[in-house]
Amino acid sequence: MSAPSANALDRVQSGLAALNPKSIAARDGMPAFEIEAEQVREACRLLRDACGFETNTFVTAIDHFPAEPRFELFWQFLSVQHNDRVRLSARVTGAHPHVASIGDLYPGTQYSERECYDMFGVVFDGHTSHAGGLKRLLMPEGYDHFPLRKDFPHQGIEPDKLYNAWFQRRFERHEREHADV
């Protein structure tokens, strides 16, 4: 087997030439490119069709709060046939960023995108999944905050709010039903 990343750099550079990506020297030696947030779909399509990257490894983000552009998004891909990896990154601004979903190109990103939305509040436009649309993945539906943002405290904000509300409702229903007893 070839050593990882032996020719991935060239392959990706020629594959993505039309988008003119900025090559980044990552500390782990993996070919990494920075692209514009609008080009994500096109870049991922090219990676899949022209460069032979079949598998998405993860989609995630880094919150650079309070710096702007605030969020840095990452997509990492693995090519099983060439045995190498590539990582794309894009920066988006503002507290409520939007970026295009690649869930239809790589179905394996559905949960990663939902998780990224759940944790950072990054909205993936056009996200479709078997859950029907972009929903929270790990935190309960109805939670108000995005936990992995840097301005969210580790110990949380009202962590028991949903539970208490649920218990109160249940308790009141119980009282109503057993009012005559």
Partner: protein, 418 residues
């Protein structure tokens, strides 16, 4: 371009009453029954919740819901710092704690540029392979119970108990051991422990034979697994499956061979590959992986004998604590230890390292801004991808197949939810 049987976002058309035929007269035919499985259900292997819509016995719609064990690990890493997060990695995939330690340590070492001494690498491989065996034992035990082979639980736990004892003798605790550090492992493997492992691993292939005698030719096991939940290679790749789930579909991609880490290239072992990609193939792959792991363990023990007395922890004073006796006798070393424990910073930048865990590619994506507060630690959990694949595989199948399917996709909720 691969085509999918199941297009994302488009639920397959709901079954319509066919009119005529045996079922056509049934007034309830075509009516969907909603069923909730979990979050507390023995067959979901943890706190997974699955919502299904059934048409008769056929699954018409299925949606897993995760997050019932979300403990905020990634946030915890940002609060605690790089070193103290080690204990939290154990609790990711808690049936193979030491393997998670290794994955995390490798990512940090990549970011910090640390080289692990040879003996440290050998011990790590030993721990990884013991963990892999332990993890597959849990898979066999729990799936066995779910499919009616309750004896498997006792067979597997008998082996696992001995494994616990070995790890107990080495690390001092049965599980959640946290014995890997940046730059190597915490302590050397004692000779007596080596002998005990050697004895145990010598009888282990016979135990695997016993499992196989129980299951492989077993009519019930075969019928409930064979042809169930088949995944093609293209599907597996598109849905980000790795590990036994990908290899069961006939793709011989194993990170231990393809992108070797911790010196895996020097061990002689084969990659187990299936053909059909169904539950039965995944079961066979797991069985074969246990045998191969046993082989690797034996080679590790041999190498440990050869490198006796060697270094097992790097002498890298940026990240590695000074030895305890020096700390007790020298002021500088004490201050040094204090510095490392309180604010150890990794260089600015980001790094990813993926290891072949028993469930797929376990990756850690770590990013540092040069200060002692971690910027980000993303955990690429193979289990999450395995859960994600459930709807793709289970759609249109019988409800009773779900149990074998969930068992064979093999995930642990601690890792799925993080």
């Amino acid at each position: 371009m691969p085509t999918f049987e199941y297009a994302p976002g488009l639920l397959p058309p709901r079954a319509k009453p066919s009119g005529g035929g045996a079922d056509g007269d049934d007034p309830l035919h075509g009516e969907l029954l909603e069923l909730n499985m979990g979050p507390q259900h023995p067959a979901t292997h943890g706190v997974l919740r699955i919502l299904v819509e059934l048409d008769g016995e056929t699954i018409a719609r299925i949606e897993p819901e995760v997050g019932y064990l979300h403990r905020g690990k990634e946030k915890t890493c940002e609060s605690l710092g790089w070193r103290k997060f080690f204990v939290h990695t154990d609790r990711l995939d808690y049936v193979q704690p030491l393997m998670n330690n290794v994955g995390y340590a490798l990512a940090l070492e990549k970011l910090g540029g640390v080289t692990v001494p040879e003996r440290g690498q050998i011990i790590r491989v030993l721990l990884c392979e013991l963990s892999r065996i332990g993890s597959h034992l849990i898979y066999l035990a729990t799936t066995g119970i779910d499919l009616g082979a309750v004896t498997m639980f006792f067979f597997c736990f008998k082996q696992r108990e001995t494994l616990y004892d070995l790890l107990d003798a080495y690390t001092g605790h049965r599980m959640n051991n946290t014995y890997v550090r940046i730059g190597g492992v915490y302590a050397d493997v004692d000779e007596r422990v080596q002998d005990a492992i050697e004895q145990w691993i010598a009888q282990f292939p016979a135990a695997v034979d016993e499992f196989e005698k129980m299951l492989t030719g077993n009519r019930i096991w075969y019928d409930r697994n064979h042809g169930i939940g088949a995944i093609t290679k293209e599907q597996a790749l598109a849905w980000s499956l790795n590990g036994p789930n990908l290899r069961g579909s006939g793709c011989d991609f194993d990170l231990r061979k393809a992108q070797p880490y911790s010196g895996y290239e020097r061990y002689d072992f084969e990659v187990a590959v299936g053909t059909g990609g169904d539950c039965y193939d995944r079961y066979l792959v797991s069985i074969e992986e246990m045998r191969q792991s046993a082989r690797i363990v034996q080679q590790c023990l041999k190498l440990l004998k050869e490198t006796k007395g060697g270094e097992f922890l790097a002498e890298d004073r940026r990240y590695v604590l000074p030895p305890k006796d020096l700390v007790r006798s020298s002021m500088e070393e004490l201050i040094h230890q204090f510095k490392i424990v309180t604010d150890m910073a990794l260089p600015k930048g980001s790094a990813y390292h993926g290891i072949e865990s028993s469930k797929g590619e376990l990756g850690f994506f770590v990013a540092s801004d040069g200060t002692s507060t971690p910027l980000r630690c993303h955990i690429r959990a193979p289990g999450l991808m395995n859960v994600q694949a459930i709807p793709m595989v289970a759609m249109g199948r019988l409800f009773s197949d779900m149990v074998s399917l969930i068992g064979s996709l093999d995930f642990v909720m601690g890792e799925v939810d993080r």
